[in-house]
Structure formats: structure tokens, C-alpha cells
């Protein structure tokens, strides 16, 4: 078991804290990140499902896209939205103030370049600005694409030098209410901006990547550690590494870019049709629209599904999926052990004729054919605050 040198990796504002907490560190998205702390992945996963878990997600790519003049009402919002709608199939212009939306950047053939979050500020004085959060491993390319699409009309300002801290779990709201009482009123996929005496300007989004209720907070880098420490002083909060983040999101049926999504997959193949709004379908004005609209109408050859191995053996990424006759019908794109399910869980792509929940399939694991079935996602019901 060897560990890669971490000398050239980027560090988040919480790096020192992870080290002091005794985290096991590894490379992720070009950053030296905590994979787990002393309690281990299983305990961290279960803690998040029952209490509140603190995640450092500062490696991700928060940013702001702004018109030169802010405050122009709906018209300004439509104008800045039009710039990103050149790249994404969702109705960004139709976002209500304070709302965030999960969407995708598409290439010209409708392949997914990245999945990302786009938000419209609640404050009318900031109309004409979008809050955009992209993935860590893809952010350089994403930022270049968005900046190019907006060139001459709006400026993209990166905010990925700040701390981005997620608090997830059924007790997240109780914990946050003691620090940011304003955040309690937020419902799922809404955000606010506030000024805090100790932590300065903070953006709080009610969202997450675990299937649990929770918040993601963008905080000035210099206050990141003090804020994380304050959360950790609360007996309901423990630090959670990327290992448990992965098992939590897998049980929640959420996609991991580079595994479940990539440029060979369209949103229809990825079972993300809901991202493509009615207005955009009618206008057909997004990259790859012809192909994507055709797929919505006539179907796709293969699509993303949940896969439940019926035994105890996990099926990892790359595992071949077969029909009962032993013919190849697909592949696992992420899979592992789900501590809450207390068994193996996976997702992958299968021929559409096998995509119905309950369809029996086989998984080829180390040369053995294991029983499994297509399962509806998520494996663990979401507990978002709607």
C-alpha cells in the first residue's frame, strides 16, 4: 500500500485543521483532502445520517458571474442567465430570487462536461449576478468555458480561494440555528447572503450531497478554520471525510462526475431529464439540443439506473452487467458498500430494455456471476427540507 507524494497538491483553508484532527489525506481533484478521520468511514457515514457531519468542500469551484451593473431586476437576471443558458439546458432565467438549480454544462453533441449548481441572488440589488458552483476536478475548464460564453457581457469572478463548508444531517438545522438563525427559514435549494460579526460575508445554501437535510456555507478563507472549529465544538457535529461523502451520495442516488457522468453521456442517458425545462425544450436552444430532444422523444440506447447486488459482495466501478443469458448489457459506474442500506449498492448504465426497477441482472465480479437487480434510486430516501 503506497501513498502518493502530496507535495504539489493544492490545500484548502482547512488543511491545517484536517492534519491536526488526524485525518488520512489523499489527492482528490488536485487537492490534498481528508479521506477519513479516526472514527473511519462507516462511523462517519452513520454519524451524518443520525447527527450532523462537517465536510470541507473548499476544493470545489464556487464563482460569481456578474453584469457590469447590478440591480436591474428581472431584466438583468434574464440577461446574465442567457449567457450560461448557451451552455446548459435548464431554465436559469426562470429561477425565482434566492433559488439554486442543479444543471449540466453540455458540449455541442449534448455530452455532459460537468454538473454544477447555479443560483439567483435573493437580493434585488444583486440581480444580474449568478452564483455558480462547479466540481473540483473540472473547474479550470468550466471556468474558461463560462468566461468565454460571457465575454464582453459579464465577468466571472472565482471564489474558490474561500472556505466552502457543508454541514449535513438531521441535526444540521439545530446546529446552524445557533450561529446563523436566518438560515433556518431556507428551504431545499435556496440560498441567502449575510454579514456575520465573526465570519464576515457568508453565503448559505440549503443543499448537499448526502440525501440529508443540510447547508453549504461559503466563508472568507481567513475565517474558515474558526468557523469549522466552532461547529466541531458542538457535540452533535463530527468531521466527515470524502470516503463517507462518497458512500452517502451513492446511497442518495447522486452522480459523481468522471464516474457516473462524462462527455459520452447526455442528460437523457444519465436519467437527468428533469434538468431540461419545458421552456428550453420548446426553444431547443442548448448545445446538442437536436440529439437530446430526439432522445427524450424516442428513447436512449442505455441509461443510468440503480443496481442492487443481492448478495454481500460489492460491485465496483467497471463491473460488467449481464442479462440472465450472460450477454453484456451494461457497466457499473460507481459501486460500493452502503452502511445505511447495510449491503452493497451501485449505479451504472444498462441497455434501456433492462432499465426497469426489479429487472434481474447478473454482475461479473472477479470472474463470478453474482445476482443483482435494477433498483430505483435513491437507495435511502432523501430527507431534504422542502
Amino acid at each position: 500500500m503506497s501513498e502518493a507524494s502530496t507535495g504539489s497538491l493544492k490545500k484548502t483553508p482547512l488543511h491545517g485543521l484536517h492534519t491536526r484532527l488526524g485525518a488520512r489525506m489523499a489527492e482528490f481533484g488536485g487537492y490534498d483532502m481528508p479521506i477519513q478521520y479516526a472514527d473511519g468511514i462507516m462511523a462517519e457515514h452513520n454519524w451524518t445520517r443520525t447527527n450532523a457531519g462537517l465536510f470541507d468542500v473548499s476544493h470545489m469551484g464556487p464563482s460569481f458571474l456578474s453584469l457590469p451593473q447590478l440591480g436591474g431586476g428581472d431584466e438583468a437576471h434574464r440577461k446574465v442567465s442567457a449567457l450560461v443558458e448557451k451552455l446548459a439546458p435548464s431554465d436559469i432565467a426562470g429561477l425565482a430570487p434566492g433559488k439554486v438549480q442543479l444543471t449540466v454544462l453540455l458540449n455541442e453533441t449534448g455530452g455532459i462536461i460537468d454538473d454544477l449548481m447555479i443560483g439567483r441572488p435573493a437580493d434585488p440589488a444583486r440581480a444580474g449576478m449568478l452564483y455558480i458552483v462547479v466540481n473540483a476536478g473540472t473547474k479550470e475548464n468550466d471556468f474558461a468555458l463560462i468566461a468565454a460564453a460571457a465575454k464582453g457581457h459579464a465577468e466571472l469572478r472565482r471564489a474558490d480561494d474561500r472556505a466552502l463548508i457543508a454541514l449535513q444531517g438531521p441535526k444540521a438545522e439545530e446546529v446552524i440555528s445557533g450561529i446563523f438563525p436566518e438560515a433556518v427559514a431556507l428551504t431545499f435549494m435556496n440560498f441567502i447572503r449575510l454579514e456575520h460579526t465573526d465570519y464576515g460575508r457568508v453565503l448559505i445554501t440549503r443543499c448537499g450531497y448526502t440525501g440529508e437535510d443540510g447547508f453549504e456555507m461559503l466563508i472568507p478563507a481567513e475565517h474558515g478554520e474558526a468557523f469549522a472549529n466552532r461547529l466541531l465544538e458542538d457535540h452533535r457535529v463530527k468531521p466527515i471525510g470524502l470516503g463517507a461523502r462518497d458512500s452517502l451520495r451513492l446511497e442518495a442516488g447522486l452522480c459523481l462526475y468522471g464516474h457516473d457522468l462524462d462527455e459520452t453521456k447526455t442528460p437523457v442517458a444519465a436519467s437527468l431529464n428533469w434538468m431540461i425545462s419545458k421552456a428550453r425544450r420548446e426553444r431547443g436552444d442548448f448545445p446538442g439540443a437536436q440529439r437530446i430532444l430526439g432522445e427524450i422523444k424516442s428513447g436512449v440506447p442505455s441509461k443510468r439506473v440503480g443496481i442492487k447486488p443481492l448478495g454481500r459482495a460489492p460491485a465496483r466501478e467497471g463491473t460488467e452487467v449481464q442479462n440472465m443469458e450472460g450477454e453484456t448489457i451494461g457497466v457499473v459506474t460507481s459501486g460500493g458498500f452502503g452502511p445505511t442500506v447495510n449491503g452493497p449498492v451501485a449505479q451504472g448504465y444498462v441497455d434501456t430494455s433492462y432499465a426497469k426497477a426489479g429487472t434481474p441482472v447478473k454482475l461479473l465480479v472477479r470472474g463470478k456471476s453474482l445476482e443483482a437487480e435494477i433498483a430505483s434510486l435513491p437507495f435511502v430516501p432523501a430527507r431534504y427540507k422542502r
Binding site: H45, G243, D246, R312, P314, G336
Partner: protein
């Protein structure tokens, strides 16, 4: 009974011509929570340094290698039913298999406890 160690972090404790094999405490800690174990059937021939079993944590699957050539006498069904036993007592109740050694001479190439501890300190 003497215990030997491999640089792949297996241990083998030899009594007569049968060795009990498992993964070391060091390896179990590195792996984290074990959630699945796959063992070879009794009677199977295994070859020194070839993979013979699989141990999986939440995050990844790892091979376990045979420290010696021989025949599987039995596998530890208890860790198949309850994989967490591997973390609880890796060098005791969490043993993997018993192997009937084909050549006891192969043991001389393995490490003793002191050499293995020094090896781990450099990992």
C-alpha cells in the same frame, strides 16, 4: 508455534505442517471497516505470493496473497458472516484460512515480528 510476516501484510502462524493465515493489525487499520471477505474453498491449491482471498472495505477491494504454497484446509466462516471481526481481532479471531504447507522451507524467506515491525515503521 511461530508467526511469520510478509511484506504484503499477511501473517502466518505455523503449528506442525499447518499454518493459520490472516492480515496484520497494520493492514486492517489501513483498510478501515471490512465489509466483505471472500475465501478460497477447502481443498484448493494456493501458490506463494499469488492472490487467494479478497477483503473489501467501504471504499475498495484488496487482494490477500498466500504467504506459502499449499492446500487450503479450511476458511474462517466467522469472518464471512461477520466481516467486522477482521478489524476487531485481525491477528486472532479474524484469521482467514488454514493452509497445509507444501514446503516449510518457504518460511525462511518471511519476516519475524521484529523485522515486520521495522518494515511497517518505514511504510
Amino acid at each position: 508455534m511461530t508467526t511469520y510476516y510478509t511484506n504484503e501484510h499477511e501473517w502466518i502462524s505455523v503449528d506442525g505442517d499447518v499454518g493459520t493465515v490472516g492480515i496484520t493489525k497494520f493492514a486492517a487499520e489501513k483498510l478501515g471497516d471490512v465489509v466483505f471477505v471472500e475465501l478460497p474453498d477447502a481443498g484448493k491449491q494456493v501458490k506463494k505470493d499469488a492472490d487467494m482471498a479478497v477483503v473489501e472495505s467501504v471504499k475498495a477491494a484488496s487482494d490477500v496473497y498466500a504467504p506459502v504454497t499449499g492446500q487450503i484446509v479450511e476458511g474462517n466462516g466467522a469472518i464471512v458472516d461477520e466481516p467486522a471481526k477482521v478489524n476487531e481481532d485481525p491477528e486472532g479471531a479474524g484469521w482467514f484460512v488454514k493452509i497445509k504447507l507444501a514446503d516449510k522451507g518457504q518460511l525462511t524467506g518471511l519476516m519475524d515480528k521484529a523485522a515486520y515491525d521495522a518494515f511497517c515503521a518505514n511504510q
